[in-house]
Amino acid sequence: MAQALYIHWPFCLSKCPYCDFNSHVRDRVDQAAWAEALLTDLRHEHAVGGQGPLRSVFFGGGTPSLMPPSTVAALLSEAERLWGFAERVEITLEANPSSVETRAFAELEAAGINRLSAGIQALDEAALRLLGRAHGLAEARAALDAACARFERVSFDLIYGRPGQTLDDWAAELSAAFAYGTEHLSLYQLTIEPGTRFATDARRGVLVMPDPDLQADFFALTRQLAADAGLRPYEISNHARAGCESRHNLTYWRYEDYHGVGPGAHGRRGGVATARHRKPENYLAAIRNSGHGIQEERRLIIDECVTEALLMGLRLTEGVDLGRLRRRFGAAVDGALDHRRMAHLQTLGLLRHTCDRLWLTEQGMPLLDAVLGEIVRCEPQRTVTA
């Protein structure tokens, strides 16, 4: 049963041009109503699938650092009351580095947050402007100093492979990042997502992305430099000192169950996929009308579970534990894999395969999506509604 809980806060101060997360800008947010709604949703989730204790809680967004710390506190104490917390529970909150949010760090810590993930995105003034971020470099640095002083565990995000960025620029920015000595870093290569302003700009030719070969160089350099700095790449975009990986995110990648509450949150519990209403107003209405925010709840067929497990698991450096998957899903695991193509990719040096484990080589990592397309047989799935 699920031992991870995700809570989504859907609001941001402004919309970043590259972002296609479920984030919304609103003039006013009725904080009391939102606190109440999330609590209601949380209780419903526990009632249908609760069994503790929780090993991790993650506040994601949007910008959850804009939540009143009292709401964070209320949600955590309710979660603990319902599920209980395991020893050394990991409780992460994503924070943006504006001064207001930095000032709330003390209260957030008091509320129970023990891991902070800061949305720094760039350590370069011009890049922050290009990325349309609401903060400047000074704020970013201040936020990082404050976070490191305050929280036991800190991670932050950077976006690289930006238009105009050179490999040297990036190496310098990375060493500035390593200087903070955090245990964890998420380094995302900029991609153009449909429906974002960057997508429009790219189509018009206003935004020119690095060519694919340069992107490959960026990717390799990033992993190399992070590893040299003691931050081992353990997932496509995540790097950590040994034992400091994000336990919560590992839950997704290892395809273990998790609860997801709040607008647009997804969950997996016991072969059932849940998805909440995305739009804040619809979500509130759903809570009012039915006491929970679930928009869709459906039972996945085994083949679909296996596909998901492969999609997620191969993102990890450790790859997928086929033995464990076979115990969970039986013969469907091998049915989902194209062994002929796997053998071909193995000879190309992109993939490794033992009887119990399947993983990508360092050379295969930047080609994950193409590799998945080759080896995972995924018929468009028919699904059974629960």
């Binding site: 990717f219 496509i236 975009s237 997704y252 993102r315 190309l348 998945l372 995924c378 468009p380």
Partner: protein, 605 residues
């Protein structure tokens, strides 16, 4: 029936994209044929493929009622026609059923090749031509200049040209008034024996075979026994009507009118376009002049990817052919590709469209071979076989070279009309294609040049090149002049060291190397990068004559995974799989279907 003086039959003709279908939309709306709610853009382009590509493929006829300024209500039969040259025969059939034409010319583009080709046809029919200068809303519109062009190049009076913007609905009533005032009403004798021109026929899943008919003399009504004068079959008319564009039933169709009938006809083959319809009893003695037969220009093989789909392909081709009599097909078998069909098309666009319709509407996965011609090969005796003659339809069946005594290929005589200024480039094109010039004359500012050309040099992209180097102004016509021996060889294309049979072709030795290089270069762009590097080679026998390499893909990964939203990743994978399903796999390499034809298009020399 409608009184003759109140009928107007006209076609809308133009170069491609000058706005015929959009003008038809406005005319339909102005006459109340469809309400605003029922209307969509280019409403007559109702095939999926027409809507997607934004072009008209099939001519459509609509009957409209228009109350003119003179207070009388007229029955207008409007025929919207295609502009692309591959479908020119649709225009000629429509023109034969009319007394006049709206010649639409784009106010910014001016007169272009198909403007000329179509208007000359219309003039041949002694039509009244009403010039319509469209798209006057465009900033680049130059209606006065275009008027002058119409007068100078075509030689018809454009002083009364109607200025329109079909898009913004300007000048629509003026068009309708011009139709009523300038296009003559049809002639005809209600009491004479029935003579109806079979303008078009198609298969409708609900009605069966539907016939579009223009009645010249007499009357067609339900219950009448009719006879096709050429086809010789007899049928009982069970439905008479018209499209407004909605289908309506009518009691009868009288002289001068255009409408449809159904008559329990099983196969469209029986209702041949161009035939004359008359009554069984007291029929007409003299048939109407028929239409010129359309000639397929490009041939290629269509094979099911999965041999088990052959029957399905046969049925689908037959069904498709019911609605498009302009392509031909005959069964073909190939050692490499199994059973399939060798089909003839009016051009490459036509080929592409048929191929796409088969795969989409009939859910068939097809391999299209290189467009080609039929060769005659003399084979020497072998240890097991006597000497014999072989007709080679498919390069994949190319016999053992050692047995070949001679190969002959079909030649054509081509006649090309072009404005002077493009003559130089056209002569060079013909020369590059192994042409032999046989004549050159000048008429005004235009040149007429004749060439003898091997047909296999014409089928790929001669048409496209001719059009592009003459900016659309040159027109082309041809006839077959028999077989001639040539130094022809088979060229194989190897992708990742495996020969791809659907890409092999027969070429003249003198141009083999250049063609091979071109194909390799194009394939390099057409085949997406893979996880490994892919050599592409052109070879004659064991000898490689050209080579390119596609570098391996280096980066393809989604950086971020959104919380627990796996569904999204899964959609991405499914999309990727769907894309793959549209490709053919050769030795671990996925080749997009379009590549098989696109590889043959020769770019700028």
């Amino acid at each position: 029936m409608t009184e003759l003086s109140l009928i107007r039959n006209f076609s809308i003709i133009a170069h491609i994209d000058h706005g015929k279908s959009t003008l038809a939309d406005r005319l339909i709306q102005a006459c109340g044929g469809l309400t605003d709610r029922e209307m969509s853009e280019q409403v007559l382009d109702n095939m999926d493929i027409e809507r997607e590509r934004g072009i008209t493929i099939k001519a459509q006829t609509v009957r409209l009622n228009y109350t003119a300024r003179d207070g009388k209500t007229y029955a207008l039969n409007l025929m919207d026609t295609p502009g692309h040259v591959d479908f020119a025969y649709e225009v000629s059939r429509s023109l034969a059923a009319c007394e006049g034409a709206l010649l639409v010319v784009d106010a910014a583009q001016g007169v272009e090749a198909q403007t000329l080709a179509n208007v000359y046809q219309s003039i041949e029919h002694d039509h009244e031509i009403v010039p319509v200068i469209n798209k006057i809303d465009l900033p680049a519109a130059e209606p006065e200049k275009v008027k002058a062009e119409i007068e100078d190049i075509i030689g018809i009076d454009a002083s009364d040209a109607v200025l329109t913007s079909a898009k913004s609905g300007i000048g629509i009533e003026e068009v309708l008034e011009a139709v009523v005032a300038r296009i003559p009403p049809p002639k005809g004798d209600r009491d004479a024996p029935l003579r109806g021109m079979l303008v078009d026929s198609w298969y409708d899943p609900y009605l069966g075979v539907v016939i579009l008919v223009r009645v010249i003399d007499g009357v067609i009504r339900k219950g009448l026994n009719i006879r096709f004068m050429q086809g010789g079959t007899e049928h009982l008319v069970d439905r008479v009507g018209a499209f407004t564009p909605k289908r309506v039933d009518l009691p009868e169709i009288g002289p001068g009118e255009i409408g449809f009938i159904t008559a329990q006809i099983k196969e469209v083959e029986q209702a041949r376009v161009g035939d004359t319809i008359t009554t069984v009893k007291n029929g007409a003695a003299q048939a109407l002049p028929g239409y010129k037969e359309v000639q397929p220009v490009v041939f290629c093989g269509l094979f099911p990817v999965d041999a088990a789909d052959f029957e399905k392909l046969r049925e689908s081709i037959a069904k498709l052919r019911l609605n498009d009599a302009s392509f031909s097909y005959e069964m073909e078998s190939s050692a490499a590709l199994g059973f399939g069909f060798r089909c003839g098309f009016l051009g490459l666009l036509h080929l592409e469209i048929i191929q796409e319709r088969l795969s989409r509407e009939y859910d068939l996965d097809l391999i299209t071979t290189a467009p080609s011609v039929v060769y005659r090969i003399q084979l020497a005796a072998s240890r097991t076989e006597d000497a014999r003659e072989l007709y080679l339809h498919n390069p994949a069946d190319y016999p053992d070279v050692n047995r070949i005594l001679s190969i002959e290929e079909p030649w054509i005589k081509a006649t090309i009309y072009t404005p002077d200024e493009y003559l130089g480039s056209i002569l060079k094109l013909c020369q590059d294609r192994r042409g032999i010039q046989t004549g050159l004359t000048y008429v005004g500012g235009r040149a007429q040049v004749s060439y003898e050309l091997p047909l296999n040099e014409v089928v790929f992209d001669f048409y496209d090149r001719l059009k592009s180097i003459s900016r659309g102004y040159a027109s082309f016509d041809y006839e077959q002049i028999g077989l001639r021996e040539g130094d022809l060889v088979k060229m194989n294309i190897l992708v990742n060291n495996e020969p791809v049979d659907a890409l092999s072709l027969i070429v003249h030795r003198s141009v083999a190397e250049e063609r091979g290089r071109g194909m390799c270069e194009r394939l390099k762009d057409l085949i997406p990068r893979h996880l490994f590097k892919i050599p592409i080679q052109a070879a004659i026998g064991g000898k490689v004559i050209a080579r390119e390499t596609i570098a391996a893909l280096r980066k393809d990964v989604t950086a971020k995974c959104y919380g627990g939203d796996i569904t999204r990743k899964k959609k991405l994978l499914e999309k990727q799989k769907k894309g793959k399903a549209r490709m053919r796999e050769y030795g671990n390499v996925s080749i997009p279907q379009e590549a098989f034809i696109a590889a043959l298009r020769m770019g700028e020399p």
